[in-house]
Amino acid sequence: MNLKTLLFAGGALLSGTAASAGGYQVTLAGQKNNGMGGVGVGLSLDQAAMFYNPGALAMVKERGVQLGVNATLARQAFRAENGGTQRELQNTTTTPLNFYAGFGPAEGKFRAGIAVYTPFGSKLQYADAWEGRFALTQIDLKSIYVQPTFSYAITEQLSVGAGLMILALGSVNLQRDIPAQNAEGKFASIELDGKAERKLGFNAGVFFKPSSMLSVGISYRSKIDAVVNDGDVTFTNLSNTATPAFQATKFKATLPLPATTSIGLGIMPTEKLTFGFDVNYVQWSAYRNLEFQFNAPVNGATSSTSKRYYQDAVTLRLGGQYQVTDGLTVRAGGAYDNSPVKDGYVTPETPDADRITGTIGASYKFGENFSLDFSTQFVSLKKRTVTQQELLDNNTTDRVAGTYKTQVIVPGVGLNYTF
């Protein structure tokens, strides 16, 4: 498959929802991993090792091409602090994809490959006229990394690897209403739409498998600042009288895509049974403020700053797989995500909370080279309340006081061709 074709054809689809991991992370990079609670740093399951731990790629037996697609089905309930009806998201299903191609000599010590995945993203469309409309009506945040990867087995037990992460496609679309009514009583709205500049980062990992029953891994993904320099600002329903205060046509903004450090453990009590345990540490504290610079005033100001004050967050993952027959493997797992969003700082664009995830999955092999993966994640975010008093205390009244409850289901399917 032509990579460029895939990027542009699939570009519109490649986004996550505010759901698959803490903050605006999307950790749906491998369909087998998705069925096992998202573990993978201490394992060498398949080509998706390029994402989880490039050091493990050299230990993946097969070479091959694999494509995965997921559907994130998010449902949310929101109630404003001052009462009112329950608000529910307009259904916005996203379909994050992942694609891997791994090459190398059959018996050689190295593997090379290319990975395409969606590490961050968020898509939410709130109910019409919901209480938080002046903070956000909808967001669509996308990122696609393309990652050439190389991995080398120093010994039979120890391998290392690294990838060059290219932020190949990044885009943001934010919309909110403006509390200025036109003659018909309609509120104006603003849309910020921009593409991120191409940026580079890297990932690297070490994989150590001292015995057939035990493996450990450590990996690191660097931070990339997604920078939008020439985003478009569009106003609608703005009355003539209000127009002079809303003249911006362009915006600049920077969104950090934070660094992640992971360690993982694999335990293989038998040839057919595998357990994995991962810990991810995401340096969300890089996200202090969301700042926009405008080329002309928006309600009289040429810049805006909104506090985020994220804190570093840890995710714990546990999963296992069992080979039932020659063709069939079944999987299960779970994860616990610590939210990077502090109390009193919850925003509609990332209505985050600690989350518990349960996963199931299976693979079926058709013949020697071809197999299908299925996975489903059930993600439950804890009820999260932000009070008006907290917003006042933190000077974060640019968002809405209320309670969010979100649940997500992420079914996915993967195709593997190995050679």
């Binding site: 003539n240 489903t376 009244t397 409850k405």
Partner: protein, 479 residues
């Protein structure tokens, strides 16, 4: 397990999950606590009536804070609440100001029905005449007039309330002094109107004030004061927001007495105390009926007194004549003009005076009734605080909680009020909370007031009445 089993179970599992995926948050419990909202009555002035942009119309009446409160009370066992609406074909009532955009210098173009002005609109270069066509209004004037002085004010009669026996008894313009025919006992040295004249005017207030006239049975117009009128009601819950006009009428006239209006002075504390206690005892049935009483916001915080700034006035004059660096005003009883300072508060109505060239020379000063000097502003604030002391004490004596609107609006003037990410403050038009007259709230402002009442009622009566989302109520609409 085989392939077809796999095929069948996985989608089924996914569907099972999907069906149960939409989370639900329980609606907060609604409790009336120790209050009984089955029969709610609102007592007050223009703020209670729903007056907006210099007039009373059905749109304002429907969004008055008592109307909003009654709809929230209805969620907690509240009964019907009769609004004194105008008939549908006269829905625009007294008429109101409309906003025709900004001038080239950024001043709002605000016109009452039939009014014209010649200005350079924003974005244009030549002056032109803008007229507020009265045919766009469905006014409620009957064509009759109230009795001429000395028996009445001669004001245009308004169509009576479409609904007899309304529960929102707000009367625009009414003060404590004009509400009680027994309030005045001593002559106010600052404004020597005989006691008998004051009390007589309060008794015949239905012939003076067409907003009182329209909710009063015709037979009672010359004989029934407001205290007696509200005493005919038997509410289970009431709100009372009175006293504003005991200082505001004087303040909005630039601290100049209007000899044609016996109630145009600041009410003295003795008369106010008698009147206010009578009102409160009457509507609370001597403290046996639950309710809430609001006090008087600091009147000089409203945009009517803060929108026209000296520096802007000078800058506007200088566009035509750069030599103008001083604005001249005549203050109080002084016969000579003096230069205005940044501490003098120009009234919103001074804008039209400046447009005619007033203030540009000592021989053509801005007249006193368009400006409050610091001494006048201080005197008004001092009296407001004295009256608020009486209100707080009287509320306590009648066992009803105080809604501190003075503190609430001071906070808004100082810090603004951000609700659900919409920023509001006390500026004219763009502040969202004040309507085009600079004194009365917008529907959004009334929603904010209703929420403050609800907050106090909830905490005092152990109730949990849900607040409203003020952003669902209109602020100033921009043409």
């Amino acid at each position: 397990m085989n392939k077809s089993l796999l095929k069948n179970t996985l989608p089924a599992l996914a569907l099972l999950g999907l069906a149960s995926c939409q989370p639900d948050l329980d609606a907060p419990a609604i409790e009336k606590g120790s209050a009984d909202f089955s029969s709610y009555v609102a007592v007050g002035n223009s703020l209670t009536a729903g007056f907006q942009s210099g007039g009373l119309a059905n749109s304002g009446i429907n969004n008055s804070y008592p109307a909003i409160l009654s709809r929230q009370f209805a969620l907690a066992g509240g009964g019907g609440f009769v609004l004194p609406l105008f008939p549908d074909d006269r829905k625009d009532g007294s008429g109101y100001l409309k906003f025709f955009g900004l001038t080239s210098t950024g001043s709002p173009i605000l016109l009452s029905p039939g009014q014209s002005t010649t200005v350079i609109p924003a974005g244009e270069t030549a002056p032109r005449t803008i007229t507020n066509n009265p045919a766009t209004y469905q006014l409620a004037y009957t064509g009759n007039r109230l009795p001429a002085p000395p028996f009445g004010s001669g004001a245009l009669e308004l169509a009576p309330s479409f609904n007899p026996q309304p529960d929102n008894l707000g009367v625009p313009g009414i003060s404590v002094l004009s509400a009680d025919a027994t309030a005045a006992i001593a002559v106010n040295p600052a404004f020597p109107v005989p006691v008998a004249t004051l009390n007589g005017a309060a008794r015949g207030y239905g012939n003076l004030n067409n907003y009182y006239q329209r909710i009063l049975p015709a037979a009672d117009r010359g004989t029934k004061d407001y205290v007696t009128f509200i005493g005919q009601k038997t509410p289970t819950f009431f709100t009372c927001w009175m006293g504003n006009n005991d200082v505001l009428t004087y303040a909005t006239n630039g601290a100049v007495l209007d000899l044609a209006n016996p109630f145009s002075g600041m009410t003295d504390t003795t008369s106010f105390g008698r009147g206010y206690r009578n009102i409160m005892r009457t509507i609370s049935k001597n403290g046996t009926v639950a309710g809430a009483a609001a006090n008087i916001p600091n009147v000089v915080n409203v945009p009517f007194f803060t929108s026209v700034r000296l520096a802007d006035v000078i800058a506007n004059f200088q566009r035509v004549n750069p030599a103008i660096t001083t604005i001249f005003i005549r203050e109080g009883s002084s016969t000579t003009a003096r230069a205005a300072t940044a501490n003098d508060l120009f009234l919103l109505t001074a804008q039209a005076q400046f447009a005619t060239g007033a203030g540009t020379s000592p021989t053509n000063p801005l007249p006193s009734q368009f400006v409050l000097d610091p001494a006048e502003a201080t005197a008004i604030q001092t009296r407001t605080n004295q009256l608020n002391t009486i209100i707080a004490r009287t509320a306590r004596q009648n066992k009803v909680p105080l809604v501190d609107m003075n503190g609430f609006f001071n906070s808004i003037a100082l810090r603004g009020l951000t609700i659900n990410a919409a920023t509001n403050n006390a500026t004219l038009i763009r502040g969202n909370l004040f309507s085009l007259d600079g004194v009365h709230p917008t529907s959004r402002g009334y929603a904010v007031i209703a929420n403050e009442f609800i907050r106090v009622i909830n905490s005092n009566y152990s109730a949990s009445i849900p607040q409203v989302n003020p952003n669902d109520y209109d602020a100033v609409l921009f043409p």
